[in-house]
Symmetry: C2
Subunit: 504 residues, 2 copies
Amino acid sequence: MAKQKKAPRPKAQTPKGFRDYFGAEVTERAEMLRRIAGVYHRYGFDALESAAVETVEALGKFLPDVDRPNEGVFAWQDDDEGWLALRYDLTAPLARAYAQHRNELPLPYRRYAMGPVWRNEKPGPGRYRQFYQCDADTVGAASVAADAEICAMLADTLEEVGIPRGDYLIRVNNRKVLNGVLESMGVAEDHQRDAVLRTIDKFDKVGEAGVRELLGAGRLDASGAYIDGVGLGEAQAEPVLAFLTSKGADAGETIANLRAAVGESAVGAEGVDELEQIAALLTAQGYGPDRIVIDPSVVRGLGYYTGPVFEAELTFEILDEKGRKRQFGSVAGGGRYDDLVKRFTGQAVPATGISIGVDRLLAALREKGRIHSETRGPVVVTVMDRDRMADYQAMVAELRQEGIRAEVYLGNPKNFGNQLKYADKRGSPVAIIEGGEEKANGVVQIKDLILGAKLAESASLEEWKERPSQVEVPRGEMVAKVREMLDQCNSATALSNIPEEFWE
Amino acid sequence: MAKQKKAPRPKAQTPKGFRDYFGAEVTERAEMLRRIAGVYHRYGFDALESAAVETVEALGKFLPDVDRPNEGVFAWQDDDEGWLALRYDLTAPLARAYAQHRNELPLPYRRYAMGPVWRNEKPGPGRYRQFYQCDADTVGAASVAADAEICAMLADTLEEVGIPRGDYLIRVNNRKVLNGVLESMGVAEDHQRDAVLRTIDKFDKVGEAGVRELLGAGRLDASGAYIDGVGLGEAQAEPVLAFLTSKGADAGETIANLRAAVGESAVGAEGVDELEQIAALLTAQGYGPDRIVIDPSVVRGLGYYTGPVFEAELTFEILDEKGRKRQFGSVAGGGRYDDLVKRFTGQAVPATGISIGVDRLLAALREKGRIHSETRGPVVVTVMDRDRMADYQAMVAELRQEGIRAEVYLGNPKNFGNQLKYADKRGSPVAIIEGGEEKANGVVQIKDLILGAKLAESASLEEWKERPSQVEVPRGEMVAKVREMLDQCNSATALSNIPEEFWE
């Protein structure tokens, strides 16, 4: 390396809002993505991977967080290409890719995509500026059968990754119904319309009375801050409240209430019809209201939706950071965005899809103890004589050939205690020792490290006591003995619910 | 969506140097990464995934392409965090992550990482500004046993992904030997030193005579352009040439030649000793010169290497874009970089590792026909009566429950010919037809699309002729019949060498 100029030392720090993922955090996510891809594939969706970088003009500006720099996007000016940006979702790149390659792609085009996206947002606890999404979309299908299929597939996917029926609910609404309500209210201006939509999105948190205040003069929130209202009159706000409280005992009742709420609006009636068809298709396929429901309170923040919108939430309770019970909440969302491809081509191309927030879904599974990670480290072959490194390397090679994860200690071997401390830190099940005396006698020592730890934890466990914590075996029997000890560990400790072959 | 202002249409175009990957291109890469991770894991390496974004100061400036904007990096100024950049490799982020988390990590720390990296380079044919790397590194092991292990693991990895022994060669050199040669030449200044290194890197292309010219006054290249030389005298250039031509019939001879080339240089002698130890360790483990060789011509472009450097190349010939035979060339490289963590902590932390160029490796496997992708599309259930969409959805649900990839046609069903064209474009093996008459009779038509295509291709194939191209079966036997037809396809066509379970 060229000599470093005397520069100040760089900080060893991820930029704010970014983080590192270690070991099982990485492999568990990879396994979840693999399972999701399996369901998407079975439904006929094909993989598409676009680059992280797009032109700013291709991405468009659809993020709700408009107060942030570059409207929530990481962007920079390229010498050759003008303004470039990191993708903020996988939908905008799909619209660009479909428009670019439409002559070669089938129509309809079902595609799935998975990977990180970036948001230039204010980071907070558990809120990062890079996170994974896993999307499936159908481009070129105007029929609401496509929307129904997406919802059914989402239900199958959640169950496939370990969320049992009853622990999730997919809620379906339709932007056209909302638009119908706004039309019948006489709210025409964009900014007022957006303000009403944002208020509707708060219904879950503030309830009917809260929404009433926020649509009118405003409201004191829990922290004592005064939130300005939209400034509608009480009569004018009424259709919104009728709409929000339209959820009935079943889909039929909800749909009847919605039909009343949209009044004379044609677009509203169209939206209600679509919801009715979606509900009928899903019911016929056995996806009942225990899994998928029509729910008028779903809005979805992104600006590009034009028809049905979906949201999947986990319904079980967790404890929040202050120890209060709350529902886990949303892990996936999506909807129909018929105008996104048209931005490029000028021709209307209907499209609908879903995006799963993979990191939140993983967090939920961990929270519920539904992922039991394989945290077992490798077998560690200790170094008693550094001139015989080749012998130790041969041992790990033999172990690996039998599919056993193994490594030689590569630190300074002088202090043997450090080698065992290392094996402990690695979560190693077994350490191998072959000093000069063992070598001369043609044997190795095999130390059972899990047994040592278990004995320390609960010395009364009979099944552990029967096993000696260190055994001497002939060198030729080393691999068989290690295999036997590992199998004992497996049967005595909780097994991962993720297939063994993934971890080996 | 809020109404679009009348803005000019965005171009549906990836930025220059970026591209989209479709279908098998994505799944083949995922499968290759999974296999590589399996080998790394078996060797005791743990996963680490860092973010794509780092501070510019944490990444440092080690890319050879210094003439590009931001020295080859995509960078931008963040309002909160100063200058941020996309990682250009996975090694600089590892050094940052290790320095940041060193108190929690084991020592030595073996880690693997895989993902895209970004280079702000001039794009060219087959040369993209985003590409995948798959790295393994050992931090905190000063012993060359760590370097030898990396080389052995690289050989195992290449074989695991489908490069047979004999089709690859891992070449090992040592920067210290080079430094010793430069020392014994009296080349001290950084810029002259770098110029000599760049010249050495051209040895493969221009040969001994070419290097002699480039070290001296300069050289006319094949295109007729004059390349300026380093300006050394003939006697001064001699040690470089002795060094470059030091490769002997075996490792022993090469090492003896190198020992002569470094003369009295202490650092040179140290480098030769290290190569000797690496060769001995690898030989003892059975990694002979058919897989790993000492080769003085390996340089590696990155500025941070301090000791052993490695390069894996594929030795078989391919045809280049002009139809000329040439060796496929390098698919992986790495080496020891003992000062990279020190940048952050001030304390020396030895480290060594390898980076596999996954996209090039995939290209090589495709070139050699070693990947036979599953390009089979889903079973397509056609729509004869759009009011019975729920029936068709039920059919695909039944097929999927048996693990068969299946979908309903979701385009406009009016023109039946379009539905079959769609199935053809999707590569569907089978189409299902259930019109009103079939429904009334409780049957479905199953159309064998692969048979149709095969008959068109080679009508004499007896095994295909025996099968009728369309059969009518009772509705209840649909799934079993489709399964039977798919199994016939499988046995009659080339099977993928990638395990079926990955694709299903």
